[in-house]
Amino acid sequence: MISIFGLTLEPRKKTSIPLQTAAILVGLVAAFLVSAALIATAGANVFNALGYMFKGAYGDWDAFVETLVQATPLIFTGLAIVVAFRAKVFNIGAEGQFFAGAMAATWIGLHLTGLPGPVVWVLIIIGSIIAGGIWGFIPGILKATLGASEIITTVMLNYVILYIISYLLSGPWREPDQFYLQTAWFPDHCRFPAVVPLSRLHLGFIISLVLAAVVYLLLWKTPFGFEIRSIGINPRASRYKGIRIKKTLVLVMVISGAIAGLGGGSEIAGLHQQLRLDISTGYGYTAIIIALLGRLHPVGVIIVAIFFGGLVNGSTSMQINTGVPVALVHCIQGVVLIFVLTAEVLATYRIRRTEIDE
């Protein structure tokens, strides 16, 4: 029990679903108000700016499709986090695993150009899954055998992969006679096909939706997924009931890494066609926000990822029209997380006036 300013917080026995929904809405409204204040400090008309943002994100079909383009990598990395966090494995390394997948995809796209397109696509999918999986396996096995905290190792591996890529881009993989740190473009036939004609929305988006279904089935419809969640809920009881904790933890990291890696591969093959250091604007980190806001559920991840994709997409139009910087988006994302999570936690309590003696 917490008492402050004459008010006492008492845990509720049960939090009803309407109450939870209301809490999330209140959190969103509060986040919205803070964001509005931020926009105002940037010197723009708040309604104007938000109007452009909304129009830029969901205003018409093209805008919406572009929002989905922005949401695609977030769905992948968000799903990666869901799998890990459900087992209470705190994979902060989706960013690095994303880059590992991107690296593998680039190599395949650049070197296997002789093969027909669909074969290359499949190879890119497999390759990025394997690369991301390996980048997840390392912290997984370190945790299982040495007890090394995955929070530390995954963050460290994010830097490792970035430096490896920096090295490759500044030397071995660099596009000949190019000033920028980037590889050559790989041929168009190796690129993922567009799913909406004449748009940037590519096969990766469909893959991400399928993957969400797969993650749902894995976690809730298979014995292995049950074991993952069971470890997350109560590792001690799970151990007593014969669940192989270490093996499961390693596999969880591999799966989580593989999903994030596939996200990286999909971005390369669907959008960039070359490897650069700026292919991710911190998708692996934003994914944590997305997964938590999405209540560690694949459907939640899709919804929140599309919302966040809209923020990114809409903010461009906001900047063009009102001069409010795009960077504000990251700020808004953080604000949303803080307010919604706070509201959710508070909803599990009730507030009472503390009786005080005079």
Binding site: T222, P223, G242, D357
Partner: protein
């Protein structure tokens, strides 16, 4: 250099209370009027009114969840009552915190001790007391504590480290902590749970000495014989309501039991012995050490036959937990063997133990037995989730799982709307039934049951006992680890006693007595063969 500090607050309190005259005995030290306290969804205390007389031992009797502890916590300032008044020594008091209660002279010993294990007894006693300045005169404090100990005949090595003391002695530290700051009124929450029968006797005699010196004591318990042994008066609570306060001399155990449960109590379900079958589990020369190579279990030899219950008696913390962990496979053994149906399963992992037919009821059902945030059906299939009977192809078949769960819920009388209900909405008895349903469903050869009835109400205890006896009669061997001697004597065919990781004795239940077992639990072996 030690800074000398005179603690005015402490000095103001008389340390040794003088014997009282007749009329003082009737004096009321604490009065509770219409106290109510509710938690979301539960009315834990419903208009409780109660007088505690100076110098009496007043038992609060009731089943788990009757509201005894809540009432005590209200009197100790942990909870704030929703309504009602508390009078201490004739004056109305509002207790905002423990500090308020302590400064009035109210002390409490909780079921879970609040001691700092790596510190000495004295350090624990003085830590947290109200002092001015920055130092404590430990020598003065020690003299004061020694004086209290001498007065009541408490034997306690004041300079020893807490973690090296037996649990029974740790309890004395808790009591001394309260007396040191001048408590005149003690709330003891289930203090006998950690004591052997002999220790209980001694404990009670010291409590009596204290009350003669003017201390008043509320003793919370659910054991009828203790109420009869020690209390002057007893207040019975049931489901948050105060049923009655009576003079102990005027009632019988049966009266109290009826008041406590609210119906006639059939005390014991009959235990008709059956001839045992072949050996199912055999432990020979088992040694277990911890990471620092300190011995946890020494030369354990135990044999459990089919159709037989072996009761393992012992004060908590004497190696029962390690033995449990070894048999279910989560702890490695240093040497020795565990044979299951003649097959060596020593150091097999938990999943192998499970597959080979070892079922287990962990002592802490919430921390070790259940997924509290998951629905009933997931808890029922925990551990057997890979069985083909729950799947179609690689995916779970929810219809099959639900049917299985419904069947188990019916068989084990689990009170819940549907298998989808989360287990954290269930009562303690129903939680244990979920575990029983799960553990019994896989046709085990051997069951390891640790504290299977801890914290359950009378009805649920009867049910669990019946389940255990039925399981035994169906051909399963059972090792029952329990701190409740009544349960051990009632259910077991043989009794083994564990003390400091060693088996002190093993004999048929009918050849021993509670006193004998009690001595062994305290580590005293009689010289007679």
């Amino acid at each position: 250099m030690m800074v000398l500090v005179q603690d005015i607050k402490l000095a103001a309190k008389p340390l040794i209370l003088l014997p009282m005259s007749q009329e003082e005995i009737k004096e009321i030290i604490l009065r509770v009027e219409n106290l109510s306290k509710s938690f979301p969804g539960v009315l834990a205390n419903d208009r409780i009114s109660l007088d505690i007389r100076k110098g009496e031992i007043h038992c609060l009797l009731g089943e788990n969840g009757a509201g005894k502890s809540t009432l005590a916590e209200c009197l100790y300032g942990t909870y704030h009552p929703d309504s009602g008044k508390i009078f201490f020594k004739g004056e109305e008091v509002r207790l905002a915190s423990h500090q308020d209660a302590i400064s009035l002279g109210i002390g409490m010993v909780h079921q879970h001790f609040q001691l700092v294990p790596p510190m000495t007894v004295m350090e624990n006693i003085v830590a947290g007391t109200v002092h001015k300045g920055i130092g404590i005169n430990i020598r003065q404090a020690t003299e004061k504590v020694e004086k209290i100990c001498r007065n009541y005949g408490i034997e306690l090595p004041l300079n020893n480290i807490i973690s090296q003391l037996p649990v029974g002695q740790q309890q004395w530290v808790e009591i001394l902590k309260a007396l040191y700051v001048g408590a005149e009124f003690l709330l003891l929450d289930e203090p006998t749970a950690v004591l052997t029968p002999q220790e209980i006797k001694r404990f009670f005699s010291i409590l009596t000495k204290m009350t003669r010196a003017g201390l008043s004591i509320i003793l919370i318990t659910h054991k009828l014989n203790e109420v009869m042994d020690i209390s002057d008066r007893v207040t019975v609570m049931r489901k948050g309501k105060l049923i009655d306060t009576v003079d102990t001399a005027d009632v019988t155990q049966e009266n109290l039991a009826r008041m406590m449960v609210g119906r006639e109590v059939v005390f014991l379900i009959t235990n008709e012995k059956v001839p045992p079958g072949e050996t199912v589990l055999e432990i020979s020369d088992l040694q277990v050490v911890n990471a620092k190579h300190r011995s946890l279990l020494k030369d354990i030899n135990l044999r459990v036959r089919r159709k037989e219950i072996i009761g393992l008696a012992g004060v908590s913390g004497n190696g029962q937990r390690d033995l449990f962990d070894v048999i279910v496979g989560v702890r490695k053994i240093a040497s020795g063997k565990i044979l299951l149906d003649q097959e060596d399963v020593s150091n097999s992992p938990p999943w192998t133990m499970l597959k080979k037919g070892i079922a287990s009821i962990p002592q802490d059902r919430i921390e070790e037995g259940l997924l509290m945030e998951a629905p009933i059906y997931e808890n029922i299939i925990l551990g057997i989730q890979r069985c083909a009977q729950f799947r179609s192809g690689i995916l779970f078949n929810r219809r099959k799982i639900n049917a299985f769960s419904r069947e188990k819920m019916r068989d084990f009388d689990i009170m819940a709307g549907s298998p989808l209900q989360r287990v954290d909405t269930l009562s303690g008895g129903n939680l244990q039934k979920v575990i029983l349903a799960r553990e019994f469903s896989q046709n085990p050869k051997f069951l390891l049951a640790s504290q299977p009835t801890r914290g359950l109400d009378v009805g649920a205890i009867e049910y669990v006992h019946k389940c255990l006896l039925d399981l035994r009669n169906s051909g399963v061997g059972i090792l029952l680890i329990s701190e409740e001697l009544g349960e051990i004597f009632h259910l077991s065919d043989y009794i083994a006693v564990i003390y400091k990781g060693e088996i002190m004795g093993f004999c048929p239940t009918e050849d021993t007595t509670v006193e004998e077992v009690g001595l062994l639990m305290a580590g005293i072996r009689e010289s007679t063969p």
